[in-house]
Subunit: 401 residues, 2 copies
């Protein structure tokens, strides 16, 4: 749905909305048996919500499309992820809690190995340790660029973040990573006239980086890709007229939430601490997004039983949400991560929409197959969830007379 359309209808209210995201909750049966992780888990609280609520499965991007975490979350927040795209450099910055300004250009960096002819022999420099990465970042920080502030941040192993800050920079710069070995790193090229100044700065950065790393081994060069600027999108406050808060232990999810203008609340490292934050801040915001990461991690690790257990632990937190008396509660995942596959997948994601006005369907348990017969349908657009939340919170004006 077009955000300009919904913006005209959205109105403020005192109702409270809550989006609980069990990251990668959708799954597949494992090698033993016919039930998915969610269908296997004992989830008495989620089952009651499913019985009282309206269920279905949402497609985060489109049929057959496996989304990354960024697009998957944008969809849940009501932003069409095909229209609202985030560059990889920006995603890297979000992933380490780096606060990008609208002036910044960010890029993903790899430390790599080049031979004496300058050709790449290892794009990841043998996956150097994070400790070594930090030493190398200290070296790169000595690079000086004219009138431009430079940030170099360690991500993990061979990966780092590069941020340039100056007026009139552009993210329209081609990657320098050739993606294969036995080739020289590519020149950074301006994809448009307004990016020429930025391309020169990146060129100069690379020149100095090559010089300063030349005596290092194996990480004696850098590769850069995903140049991008923080997008300047309309905020959830502007569109939906609400004060939204994000509770997430991982910086990546706080970062995506901040891109749409949510306030990222300070919280701890555990699910328990996330729920404490929710309870403490409940009165201060209209809309809460709470993110549970461990479902996805278990799926990525291919650990069916662990994914079952973390779903069961999440289930135990549901009464704490209900005690806060939300007007609308949504439980879903941002995408599926079947442990049988061991990575994100394209499968539509089970969802419960629970409110006084939802009109419950006949679904009485929270699982992939149960949700297929629900009132929201077996694969409806995830981006439609937000208008539905707003409607159930009585926060949308009538369209036309």
């Amino acid at each position: 749905m077009d955000l300009d359309f919904i913006k005209k209808l959205a109105k403020p209210s005192s109702t409270k909305m809550m989006l609980l995201v069990l990251d990668g909750v959708g799954g597949l049966p494992g090698n033993n048996g016919d039930r998915t992780e969610l269908e296997t888990a004992h989830t008495p609280n989620l089952d009651i919500l499913a019985e009282q609520g309206k269920c279905g499965l949402h497609k985060p991007v489109d049929v057959g499309i496996t989304p990354g975490s960024g697009p998957a979350h944008l969809s849940l927040f009501g932003y069409d992820p095909v229209k609202y795209q985030v560059g990889r450099g920006v995603l890297s910055a979000l992933g380490i809690d780096f606060d990008l300004t609208l002036k910044d250009v960010a890029a993903r960096g790899n430390f790599c190995t080049v031979d004496d002819k300058g050709k790449v022999t290892d794009r990841r420099a043998g996956r150097i340790s994070t400790e070594k990465n930090k030493e190398l970042c200290d070296i790169l920080r000595k690079i000086e660029l004219p009138n431009t502030k430079l940030f170099i941040e360690t991500v993990k192993e061979h990966r780092f973040l590069l941020v340039l800050r100056n007026e009139n920079l552009s993210g329209e710069i081609s990657d320098t990573d050739p993606q294969v070995v036995d080739k020289e790193p590519l020149e950074p090229e301006a994809k448009s006239a307004k990016a020429e100044k930025t391309a020169e700065l990146v060129f100069e950065f690379i020149r100095q980086a090559r010089e300063k790393l030349s005596d290092q081994n194996p990480a004696n060069m850098v590769l850069l890709r995903g140049f991008s600027k923080r997008p300047d999108w309309p905020s959830m406050k502007e569109i939906f007229k609400l004060n939204a808060a994000a509770i997430a232990t991982y910086p990546m999810y706080r970062g995506v939430a901040k891109l749409v203008g949510m306030e990222a609340l300070k919280t701890g490292k555990t699910v328990e601490e996330e729920f404490e934050t929710l309870e403490k801040k409940w009165k201060d915001y209209d809309y809460f997004y709470l993110h549970i990461k461990s479902t996805d991690s278990a799926g990525e690790d291919g650990d069916f039983q662990r994914k079952v257990r973390v779903i069961e632990e999440a289930d135990k937190q549901i009464p704490r949400i209900l005690d806060l008396v939300p007007d609308v509660l949504i439980v879903t995942g941002d995408h599926s991560t079947p442990s049988f596959i061991g990575s994100h997948s394209w499968h539509p994601v089970p969802v419960i929409v629970w409110s006084k006005f939802c009109l419950s369907d006949k679904v009485n348990s929270f699982g992939e197959r149960a949700c297929m017969t629900g009132g929201l349908g077996p694969q409806f657009p995830g981006v439609d969830l937000m208008p539905l939340v707003m409607a159930n919170a009585l926060r949308l004006e009538k369209f036309g007379a």
Copy 2:
């Protein structure tokens, strides 16, 4: 679906189609029990249609969007209500059976009260009686505008309709209603160059109205909003190649039908009389739209039991339709009006598509939850109904070879 696309495929035929609209039929369980109004009602005839037909729920505009009657009906007639929008002035005219020409500009008028500094103290002049309104309209009719025909029509209480008729008028005029008290009425402003002449005429109308109403109390001024012209849309005849007739007791619904080129048949004030009209005119048209208002009125009044009763009364009329042997019969609402909410709502609307070729699903009763499992899906676009009707009437050519 794009009307230009369907227009290329539509062909004339001798088949007959009937759309029965139970206004606002979709509902919610009330405070007592788990059944909606439609699920509570004893509807043996509708249940047989559901059993023989294909069922589902349609979304009139989009997920979460509560439609007004105008957009909701346009969707049923196959016109995307976001693309085909009608101004509020035009809707007011439709609502009192005023036949707008393509030259006219219409606006909603309020009689209001202003103080001696000209500031609005009551936007509705204490909701004066309709009788008083008629007296004031007589006064306003004495206003003279250069070369322009003026129509002033009482709507109800403080509301009236203003229509200007002249060549080259434009509806792109800003509202004069400040929407709040303690402010002067706004000046009517042209939103585009071609609206300047119209803005001058409106300005002059307001000047004379202020003068002529100055000795009135409390209704001593007017506020105008929703300036608009009757849209010049392709008719159902042009698009679908059929002769369509509307049977409705309320002017508003006849008006919307006329906007898409239907003939609004003369009928009485009761459902009984509407069906008599249907029977009498059956041989003269290809497509009939018959509108039953009382389901919506009961929902708006929050009267669950009355809504149940009017659904049961409508059910009794179904055999009369079947006796006419339609090729395609659609039973649905334009939108939901749950008595639990007491107003239009965003909930998808139950629908039966009945024809010899529909391929019945397993739904065997007409209700919200039953229709969720139907062959049309739990929330398909309402605007898709018309192509489906046409297909079932064997009135669409094959697309491509």
